[in-house]
């Protein structure tokens, strides 16, 4: 391999579906699975004579997200048309924000484990170039046997926030960690449910490599990535592919590639049309979007027509990073524990509930939550909500342990029994299996004596 080191450069374009009842510019419903073309209005189908009407909730979602990502919110932002032909884009253009998006210049901090050791975490930052509001397209189902495409417009017009991350990342692991943190933030805000499997969070990666001191290399865009795990794989594969290609004297084409999860590689996407010219133009049917803050709030305007950035800022919930700090401070647990707690939906709440109901110190409770509870749930592919052992039962068990009525070995056996979900209480199981710790001095002496006597007889 080459003597000069390679520096990989990774940027991300993330599309998050906005969690709202209705679409960005029309009143049809937003829902994942529904009969084809049942959630489509005349505007979504681009029938002549229809006009876009902006959904207030979508704007609020974008402002919340911008604030959470430390962005400057543009008090005046504009809508544009991005033109291209595709069967699932009935208008022949997408309404987006190309010139002046709603939020710019933010940052996202995320953490990585060094050397796969949870105990050594490092914090990194990626710059957020911008966040823009735009329409989602419909869905195309390719029927190769009949050489046709079936089009369902249920998704056409759903509101999206496109979050553009600058190329500050250097590998799949960093990209995956950044996306994971963004996902948690979006879910905490409620601006998007960000479930990748349901297409609510889609990530495209821009990858290039170069030698130190030289200009950035040609970049490729990698699409069709369906999970955070595949995101890391796709990026690392593409970095390797580019390095090998260049070291063999080849060149990198500025192209779009798709990730093939089965083969674990990226392949060129059909690109017969060459580089796209989107012919951006201002959206003539929408005036500029004006947002206000406490200072600029107009006196005599209908309050439903006014979006106040400061009002939204005051009501932002605690972001994941803040929640983690509070958990560490309040309960004396390790930072890596706080990551695990927040990484699993409902786990932090479960932990806090157990702590409330038991005398055992949080520092000891955390071990049971992370090793025993989470271990079991993972083994059986269960979510915290689906746990057969409730926080009440676990707290009950830990109390027995804390009061020294049972040993920790016995406690593990009781837990194993509790997983069966047969409705027995920890105390009942202890009595059934005779797991009580004997503390009566005389009784212990008698047992020891009996054992010794038994030995002597052999």
């Amino acid at each position: 391999s080459s003597l000069a080191p390679w520096i990989p450069v990774v940027g991300l374009e993330i599309h998050a579906q906005i969690s709202s009842n209705s679409k960005l510019f029309s009143g049809s419903q937003v829902q994942f699975a529904a009969p084809p073309n049942s959630l489509v209005s005349f505007f979504d189908a681009s029938l002549p004579g229809t006009l876009p009407v902006l959904n207030r909730r979508c704007v609020e979602a974008a402002v919340m997200t911008g604030l959470a990502l430390n962005c400057s919110i543009n008090k005046k932002s504009l809508f544009d048309r991005k033109h291209y032909f595709y069967a699932d884009l009935p208008a022949g253009y997408q309404i987006t924000q190309q010139r002046v998006p709603i939020a710019v210049n933010g940052s996202l901090s995320y953490s990585l484990c060094i050397d796969n050791k949870m105990s050594q975490m490092v914090t990194k930052t990626v710059r957020i170039k911008q966040i823009q509001l735009e329409q989602d397209s419909g869905k195309s189902l390719h029927d190769d046997t009949r050489s046709q495409t079936l089009v369902d417009l249920n998704r056409a017009g759903v509101g999206l926030m496109e979050v553009v991350m600058e190329p500050d990342m250097c590998c799949g692991e960093e990209a995956a960690a950044a996306v994971r943190e963004l996902q948690l933030i979006l879910q905490t805000l409620g601006s998007s449910q960000a479930v990748m499997a349901e297409g609510q969070l889609r990530v495209d990666a821009n990858v290039s490599v170069h030698h130190p001191g030289e200009p950035y290399g040609v970049r490729t865009e990698v699409k069709n990535i369906n999970s955070i795990r595949f995101l890391a794989k796709a990026i690392d594969y593409e970095i390797q592919r580019q390095i090998e290609e260049l070291e063999n004297g080849g060149t990198i084409l500025n192209e779009t590639r798709a990730f093939d999860s089965k083969l674990g590689c990226t392949v060129p996407m059909r690109d017969k049309e060459g580089k796209q010219d989107y012919r951006f133009m201002p959206e003539p049917n929408l005036p500029p979007l004006i947002l206000y803050d406490a200072q600029s709030l107009p006196a005599n305007m209908n309050h439903q027509q006014v979006i106040n950035i400061d009002w939204i800022h005051e009501r932002l919930p605690d972001l994941p990073s803040v929640k983690r700090e509070k958990l560490v401070e309040q309960y004396g647990i390790l930072p890596e524990h706080s990551f695990t707690l927040l990484n699993e939906d409902g786990l932090a709440e479960f932990f806090e509930s157990v702590v409330e109901q038991t005398q055992m110190k949080p520092k000891k409770v955390i071990g049971w939550i992370i090793k025993d509870l989470l271990g079991y749930l993972k083994q059986h592919s269960l979510t915290v909500k689906e746990s057969p052992v409730s926080s009440f039962l676990l707290a009950d068990l830990l109390n027995l342990l804390e009061k020294k009525e049972i040993s920790s070995t016995a406690a593990k056996r009781v837990l194993a029994e509790l997983w069966k979900g047969e409705g027995k209480t920890p105390l009942e199981i202890v009595k059934e299996q005779k797991l009580e710790l004997l503390r009566d001095q005389k009784e212990l002496e008698q047992i020891c004596q009996a054992v010794i006597d038994g030995q002597e007889n052999e």
Binding site: S20, S28, R57, C58, H83, L141, D143, T149, E273, D277
Partner: protein, 108 residues
């Protein structure tokens, strides 16, 4: 200043228009010349206006479900449908390259 064949070819690809004959191209040239008169106005220091709506208030709609559920009406005009899906060709069929298609532009 004439519009080049490359630009005309590019426009035919992007917009799927067909300039058809020299008269069509001439019309385009005249339209561009007409619009170019805008350059005669000194706009130094003037913020560009891109919409006559720029002083209007952008109306914000409440997030309620008020439309949809009209599959039948939507599919009524579709020439082909399969179980309530619209039917489209398997992919974009791009305009063949200039050399490969019959267009008067080739002669230019």
């Amino acid at each position: 200043q004439k519009v080049s064949v490359e630009v005309l070819d590019h426009l035919e690809h992007l917009a799927l228009v067909d300039f058809r004959d020299s008269e069509g191209v001439e019309r385009l040239q005249k339209a561009i010349q007409f619009a170019d008169q805008l350059h005669e106005v000194n706009t130094d220091g003037v913020e560009p206006m891109d919409s006559v709506l720029e002083d209007r208030c952008l109306y914000l709609r409440e997030d309620d479900v008020t439309e949809g559920n009209c599959t039948k009406a939507l599919l009524e005009n579709a020439r082909e449908k399969v179980e309530e899906y619209f039917v489209a060709p398997p992919g974009n069929i791009p305009l063949p390259k200039l050399e490969e298609r019959e267009t008067f532009l080739q002669g230019s």
